[in-house]
């Protein structure tokens, strides 16, 4: 017979192998509640973001990029000069303001300040045509970032459409579409860019003062070249992803339900390769910036007086011995942007797609 003590717990018999229940305490309500810890439902995206923010390099690059973007957005509002403005004091051209070092005023400006006037400092000095160099670098960064972003978006859209159609349909369609990709892959891009900008210069004429004419035909041909040539890598990548995702049962399930191919691609396939898409787009931006920079460097980029980081670096080449800082500023900016975008892309990849980690 089991005996109970006054607490209602069974008393252990001396020779019994049972656990002595008297040695146990009943859990309080609060302790019981502590057991019911359920982790919060996290989405794939939130989970990836959490991982991303634990990566110090990625966080650093996000900070650097944010700072650069804040500067290029707000600097033109603060700095009273424009990128094409030749410096003048009281309406008179300041001929002494050429090739000034950072934070140095020309003679005319010093005189003006001595007379009680206020003059905004030339943070990066001035260039050989007496234009404020800081604002030119800011505008150059703007152009480079915009080019990088737009080119990547063009590449993303074309590559995504092409790759997903090719991968989803498969078979003969895939075969033909991929051979076209191979053909485009083999074209020399430099040659095409040069030829296109020559041809486009001939056939395109913009109203002066319109946004397009400011960008210049070289820039437009650059976009066109990106649209024509650079999407192939993205298309291949997405096709490969889709080929592997397509084999999953949930795609078959969606077909059984009666979902149309468009819906299947949009709702089932693309969300499952979105990580790869984000990562490769993030890595595409620096490569586009680089392309723009070297094209501007060889003189095929933006049209004067619009600056870009590449054309600024090119212009600085002439006076390299006397004014090395004119090369250093745009070069450092390119480095910072490209490096932080690359690190951010790596961080995104590690956070969203650990399988791709080398």
């Amino acid at each position: 017979m089991v005996e109970y003590n006054k607490n209602g717990t069974p008393v252990k018999k001396p020779l019994s192998l049972q656990i002595n229940l008297e040695k146990f305490e009943k859990a309080t309500d609060e302790e019981k509640r502590q057991q019911e810890v359920m982790s919060k439902s996290t989405t794939f995206f939130r989970d990836g973001m959490k991982k991303l923010f634990k990566n110090p390099l990625a966080v650093m690059s996000i900070i650097v990029l944010t700072l650069i973007i804040i500067v290029i957005v707000f600097a033109p509002m603060v700095v009273p000069y424009s990128y094409s403005e030749i410096l003048s004091v009281n309406g008179k051209r300041d001929k002494g303001a050429k090739n000034l070092a950072p934070f140095v005023y020309s003679e005319m400006e010093q005189e003006y300040i001595a007379n009680g006037g206020e003059r905004f400092p030339h943070i990066f000095g001035t260039d050989e045509q007496a234009r404020d160099y800081f604002i030119r670098v800011v505008y150059g960064t703007r152009i480079s970032l915009v080019v990088g972003l737009f080119a990547s978006i063009i590449v993303l859209i074309i590559g995504m459409l092409y790759g997903s159609i090719s991968g989803y349909l498969g078979g003969k369609v895939d075969l033909i579409m991929m051979r076209i990709v191979d053909m485009i892959y083999s074209l020399p891009d430099m040659l095409i860019i040069i030829l296109l900008s020559v041809v486009l210069n001939q056939i395109m004429s913009f109203k002066s003062g319109s946004a397009l004419s400011k960008i210049g035909t070289n820039m437009i041909s650059l976009f066109i070249v990106f649209g024509l040539l650079y999407w192939v890598g993205m298309a291949r990548l997405i096709r490969g992803q889709i080929l592997s995702i397509k084999e999953n049962d949930y795609i078959t399930a969606a077909r059984t339900i009666g979902a149309k191919p468009g819906r299947i691609i949009k709702k089932h396939i693309l969300p499952n390769c979105i990580s790869v898409i984000i990562i490769s787009t993030a890595l595409q931006i620096p490569s586009a910036i680089f392309t723009e920079s070297y094209l501007s460097f060889v003189g095929l980029g933006v049209q004067a007086p619009m600056p870009s980081l590449g054309s600024l670096a090119n212009a600085a080449r002439e006076g390299l011995q006397s004014y090395p800082y004119k090369l250093i500023f745009p070069a450092i900016t390119i480095c910072l942007i490209v490096l932080s975008l690359n690190l951010l892309g790596d961080g995104l990849r590690d956070a969203f797609d650990p399988k791709l980690k080398r």
Binding site: S41, T43, N248, D249, Y250, A253, T256, K267
Partner: protein
């Protein structure tokens, strides 16, 4: 209107396989398969791995374009044109509960997808209500609705898959080994749920499995497949107690018995050799290469399914 819900006649499903450079070989995954399913009936389809069970299920749902034969649903032949509307009547539950649910969708969206595709609701509230009804039907809590598939166990995932199949109120569901990825205790739960759903909703199942005891438990009739052919069909108890075809007999003798005493006495029929490759099928009866009773006649002509009394059909030349 015919007596049967689903009539499969001479269904053939061949696949082209690269046999070498510039050479394609036909793989006869399903070769001349015929069977019928009545409304509310469960037909079990058994056979060893690679014999074409899954292919039969998928060809019926037109996930593959059948090479030959017809499938009639409620007396109407299924074609590419009317399959769109028939998707509301026929659904499928998949084998692998891990890959059959989209990892980027919440349970609510997974179950709601058939409703979205067929526009079976008039407003968000109705959609939500229908989804919650389906979830309670398969034994999921309402709070699970906003969670993702990876947060569930195998059994719960399979319930989600079943709720998705039920969302359109189908009359017929192909269950493609729905329990083989689950452990035994969960298998029992899921199978009992299938039975309850049949009683409640009157759906018919084509229940594909390789576990004979599971199939016997749930099916009214059982069809045995070997290498793309149906070799025997009968009422499930009839097939279990008095199998005719030598393949069925050896298959049944392989069922483990949880009693060592009887198991020792039992006469195991062990088959010689391997299953022939479906790329290179034997002539005549597909089973003759492993059959103890094979004669010359078996090599010449493939036997048809013939009635051996009481609806027990068997495809064998031996009487």
């Amino acid at each position: 209107m015919s007596e049967y819900l689903l009539e499969v006649e001479h269904l053939k499903q061949y696949f082209n396989v690269r046999g070498g450079f510039f050479k394609t070989v036909q793989l006869k995954a399903v070769d001349d398969v015929s069977f019928n399913i009545r409304p509310g009936e469960t037909l079990g389809l058994v056979g060893e791995s690679g014999c074409g069970k899954t292919t039969v299920g998928r060809s019926i749902l037109r996930l593959y374009e059948p090479t030959g034969g017809t499938v009639k649903f409620e007396g109407v032949e299924i074609t590419d044109k009317n399959i769109g509307s028939l998707r509301k009547e026929m659904q499928m539950v998949f084998q692998d509960p891990y890959s059959s649910l989209n990892p980027r969708m919440t349970v609510e969206d997974i179950i709601g997808e058939p409703l979205d595709v067929h526009k079976l609701y008039s407003n968000r509230k109705e959609r939500r209500e229908k989804i919650l009804n389906l979830m309670s039907l398969v034994g999921l809590n309402a709070e699970h609705a906003t969670r993702y598939a990876h947060e569930f166990s195998g059994g719960q995932r399979q319930r989600i898959g079943i709720a998705r199949a039920l969302a359109v109120n189908p009359k017929f569901i192909v269950c493609d080994e729905p329990v083989s990825a689950l452990d035994v205790s969960i298998q029992a739960q899921v199978i009992n749920m299938f039975e309850d759903l049949r009683k409640e909703l009157g759906v018919a199942y084509l229940f594909i499995a390789h576990d004979l005891l599971v199939v016997r438990h749930i099916s009214d009739r059982i069809a045995v497949m070997y290498l793309g052919h149906i070799v025997e069909t009968a009422e499930s108890d009839e097939l279990m107690t008095s199998p005719i075809h030598p393949y069925t007999r050896s298959l049944l003798s392989a069922v483990p018995i949880p009693d060592p005493e009887t198991a020792r006495k039992k006469n195991r029929i062990i088959l010689e050799g391997d299953v022939p490759s479906p790329l290179n099928m034997p002539t005549g009866c597909p089973f003759r290469t492993r059959c103890a009773y094979a004669t010359e006649k078996c090599a010449e002509k493939c036997p048809e399914l013939t009635d051996r009394g009481g609806g027990h059909m068997c495809a064998c030349w031996n009487k």
